[in-house]
Subunit: 401 residues, 2 copies
């Protein structure tokens, strides 16, 4: 029923393509409940239903670092993000296709999302050259020269076979307004080209809204991307150097302009606090390297704030990381043991800290979803923000995730 | 019943200590079956019964590298070895004791064995000084000076709290006969001192037979160590530079001289082939870093021989490591994916390869135990030796395990 409604809305905007050909029913998005702008929904994909809001752990190179798929399932992870740029370079998208696609290759039976590679390519600022057709860049692995265009990015993503894929976009520095306008306009042209290039009905291609922190550009981009027959909308260009206030204001401008019955994905965000703010502003899907990257730097989320377990103060601390947490790490190990593993350079530390950090994010999002459904989100949101405030420091994404 | 029998035998040798005070009934060893010299038994410990023969994965720094205790349990591991030298230096045995002992600290609820630290200390050949009282050495971590004596080693092991602990011994170069005799005699004096220093009835202190590859010395050492009231006997000084033939010959000399009703532990051995040979010669307990160390060097056991999965030939190989293996890694992943993880420097490779290599060892020993019980060991041993022959290359242990 929802899919017909979506089609009707789009036809109401006079878009002339028969979108039933482009948005297969398998990507139906049903809203289950709302509280203010916050939404709880179900997004259907060929690899199962996603309960939204959802937080996607990042598996850059076809693995969420230090974790087996079995451990990831044990955490209740549903959606996993993987990076097109990295997989294109190594092991190569054709090799992945030959081995049955990304789900089969990495043995993740649940939904997968791939980005377009654009973000990574643009962040190679010393070696890449942009033109209207695409981007030429050098591999961070061996310095060899490569070229991405919207068509090539989609072809690679078609080979990888994720359930959710992204248009090729340009993410600009939000503090450079003139360039941000140019990048946004190019992103729009590339969105149309990505849509035309897309070949697989079993993959949902999401459009990406850009425009930095300029409300006028964001309005323009939100309206343009919403006018195209994408089954979902991503918001890019945030958590890349702007302030928290600017990010929240930008979300406040963009989300009211997006179609109600399409999932909204806030790319590369973020901290526990960012998730709460994003959900309160109508976001459905998040991804971030933060939980696993912090784990590799010995840092963990906790209601006491972010802790660095290498600190000598934890050497004889018999408490778990977070006494209120029921992840495997907190149910099993003391801070003293975790600090020992870190100090002894044992890679198990990365595994155990990743388990805790990912559990914290997934559990938080699950609790928020429940509160949206039972109507308590707005009464709990202040408490959650207070509880997670001390974990708010943001870490920027880089090519080497 | 077995414990009384053991006591009787020892009293028969005119040893005057009332060994019921030294060998608590909790360390009873029952022989379940024999085939030739091979034995299947049950060794009772305060943390559960060990079915022997048993292979102990090595958790040098209070963790079997790259694996959670949960994953280790999933592999069917029962006994885990940890290293006194490493834990003494970091995090410190007193800290471990304060946090409830090693089982509690590393959350391994099953039996643990610690070595005495002797092997590691002696292998620091550039910085250690030996005298009859003990060894002075420099830490490989920070160069600080420390001293181990038999009394100190036992005190540290009492603090750590493993179920099975070792006398402080000197492992000599088997090719230096004169020095081997001196080291053996010192090992014997230290065995008596270790026995006197031992304080905890809930830990089984094993004596260690030394003597290199000299049959006369080995006979002398086996007889002397057997005359002391140890609840189990270890054989040290093998797999340290001698040939395979010398190792087998030495085992052939030693094991017939050991008391039937005490478990026999062959220290630091070995490959799948070594285990088969050891069991055929009456060994009950093995440990080796090989499965996890090979995993960190991208190598895996297989009936095809040892494979290095970094090899480009595996890039598109859709088979598991070993089609006859039912470990998580082989049930789940292709060689191509494992090679990708290695090539992309993902630490998950170490985890998945460790799972396979440890499963191979544990499963082999379990199959051998079953064959001893059902009387088919002698008919199967040739097949097993043929099957695992290609994995025979030996890797020496070093301080940095």
């Amino acid at each position: 029923m929802e899919i017909h409604h979506t089609r009707f809305l789009l036809i109401g905007k006079s878009y002339r393509v028969d979108i039933s050909l482009i948005i297969p029913p398998m990507f139906e998005f049903n809203l289950v409940a709302r509280q203010g702008n916050a939404r709880a929904g179900t997004f259907h994909t060929p690899h199962g239903d996603l309960s939204t809001p959802v937080f996607a752990p990042v598996g850059t190179q076809a693995t969420v670092k230090t974790l087996t798929p079995e451990q990831l399932k044990g955490l209740g992870a549903s959606l996993v993000l993987s990076n097109t740029y990295h997989l294109y370079l190594r092991p190569g998208d054709e090799l992945v296709a030959e081995l049955g696609g990304l789900h089969q290759f990495m043995q993740w039976p649940n939904p997968i999302l791939t980005d377009s590679g654009g973000y990574q390519v643009f962040s190679l600022s010393d070696t890449r050259k942009i033109d209207d057709e695409g981007v030429t860049f050098k591999s961070h692995i061996d310095g060899s020269t490569h070229r991405f265009t919207p068509e090539r990015s989609i072809q690679i993503q078609n080979n990888l076979g994720a359930d959710i894929i992204m248009t090729f976009d340009e993410c600009s520095d939000p503090n450079d307004r003139d360039y941000t306008r140019i990048a946004m306009e190019r992103t729009h042209r590339w969105a149309e080209r990505s849509l035309r290039a897309h070949q697989r009905a079993d993959q949902a291609l999401f459009g990406i809204v850009q425009g930095g922190v300029d409300p006028d550009l964001r309005v323009k981009s939100a309206e343009f991307i919403s006018s195209l027959p994408f089954p979902g909308i991503a918001i890019g260009g945030l958590s890349v150097g702007e302030t928290k206030a600017e990010m929240h204001a930008t979300l406040g401008v963009v989300t009211p302009l997006l179609p109600e019955h399409k999932p909204r994905y806030l790319m590369g965000v973020g901290t526990p606090e960012d998730l709460i703010h994003g959900i309160a502003r109508g976001i459905d899907i998040f991804d971030c390297v933060l939980p696993t990257r912090l784990a590799r730097h010995n840092a963990v989320f906790s209601p006491e704030g972010r802790l660095n377990l290498m600190n000598a103060v934890y050497a004889r601390d018999a408490r778990p990381i977070d006494e209120s947490c029921d992840c495997y790490t907190c149910r099993t190990f003391t801070r003293a043991y975790l600090r020992h593993l870190i100090s002894a350079k044992e890679s198990l530390a990365g595994t155990l800290l990743s388990i805790h950090n990912l559990h914290t994010m997934i559990n938080l999002v699950n609790n928020i979803r429940t509160s949206i459904i039972d109507g308590t989100f707005e009464s709990k949101v202040r408490l959650w923000l207070e509880q997670w405030h001390g974990n708010a420091e943001r870490v920027k994404s880089k090519v080497d995730q």
